[in-house]
Amino acid sequence: MDILLENMDLIISLGVIMIGYFAGSAAERKHYTSIKKREKETLGFPVVTAEAYFADGRVKESFMVSGSVVISMDYFKRLLGNLRNLFGGRVKAYESLIDRARREAILRMKEEAQMMGGDMITNLRLDTSTLTGSANRRSQIGSVEVIAYGTAVVFNQE
């Protein structure tokens, strides 16, 4: 019992790591389920990275749409990333965060375009930035923002 009390800080950090691991993986699983479901639903909605040229009179209206998302890493992922920083190599722990953020941002952009009556999105661009300072700073959990933006196009009905 006393050895527990004396090493309280170690136990607390282990606890936080475990919370990070379990809560983080649960959140990730849930998010991926939602992403896959919504991707399937919007599969028919065209999004292209190409700068599209349309015949005269084909386009009725065009406007910019965007979708952005901020995703935080959890304590476990941060520790794993930090350890990886010492040895080098692929930071696999962070890959899924970026992947989720990218796909979620595109989904939100698509949803916005659909809401506004768009028929497709051309010229898709993705940008990313980190929030909360450096991801490796102590007592700071880094998060990543991904913004997806493009030109939504509404066609004239023929």
């Binding site: 006393d2 050895i3 004396e6 090493n7 800080d9 170690l10 950090s13 691991y21 993986s25 991707e39 399937k40 599969l43 028919g44 065209p46 292209v48 476990f76 992922k77 941060r78 520790l79 794993l80 930090n82 350890l83 990886r84 920083n85 010492l86 040895f87 692929r90 696999k92 722990a93 890959e95 899924s96 970026i98 992947d99 990218r102 497709m120 490796n136 102590r138």
Partner: protein
Amino acid sequence: MKFTPLEIEGNVNVSQTKPIAEFVWLAGELVLLVVGAYLLLGLATDLLAARIPVAAETWLGSRSLASFHGAANPALDRRLQELISRLPADSPLRRYRFSAHLLESDTVNAVALPGGHILVFSGLLRKVQSENELAMVLAHELGHYVHRDHVRGLGRGLGIAMAAQLLMGSDSSATEFVSRLTLPLFARYSQAQEQAADAFAVDLIRSRFGHAGGASDFFGRLHNEEGESRSYILASHPSPQDRISRISDRIAKRRYPVRPTLPLGRDVLQPKAEKKS
């Protein structure tokens, strides 16, 4: 151009790995590195410790003494010199010029600084009840000089501080985590040093007083005050109980006589009184 929706199976952007396995692997590598560095550094300091000239140590000692703000204390010094006069003529301690200093602090501790400066905290003096106990404490610190523990400690401490500093740059939480895991190793080493110093101290107070009475009294009082609750697995010092049993073992094995202790002289307690007035 016709838009053909395609569902993508799998995900090339996310590596399919087991994060726990990666964590265990990486943390293990780091622990191995830290332990390896510690052992190498320990080996290097052990080799070097005996070769560092006393003059260099004295210079280092005067610098570290200044940072502690200890005051020279004639009463403690007199007792220290009495102990030193009992040392054999060929003792390695003869190369030092020892001095005792008192530091106002509630901490119950004494420190052996490089260059023969022994720093006694006033918190310890308030707990000491007999001349024999005080001599035991001073002799224990003298024991550290025999094996040049202070120099070794410095080498290891410096290396660890440097390593922590280097790793701290890229991360602090991971390093801390790993250093906590490797702590028992460091603790083991310093506990062995403390036991060696205790053994030296018992022998010295035996030649000082003609008997070994009171050698473990101080630890006995510490033990009674703390009770059995504290854990000493990760501590730098062995538990009082452990020290008492080792000290009594040595007394029994060497057949040292044990007689009543001398009460503590009033001159030692003076600094405390001065502070109050």
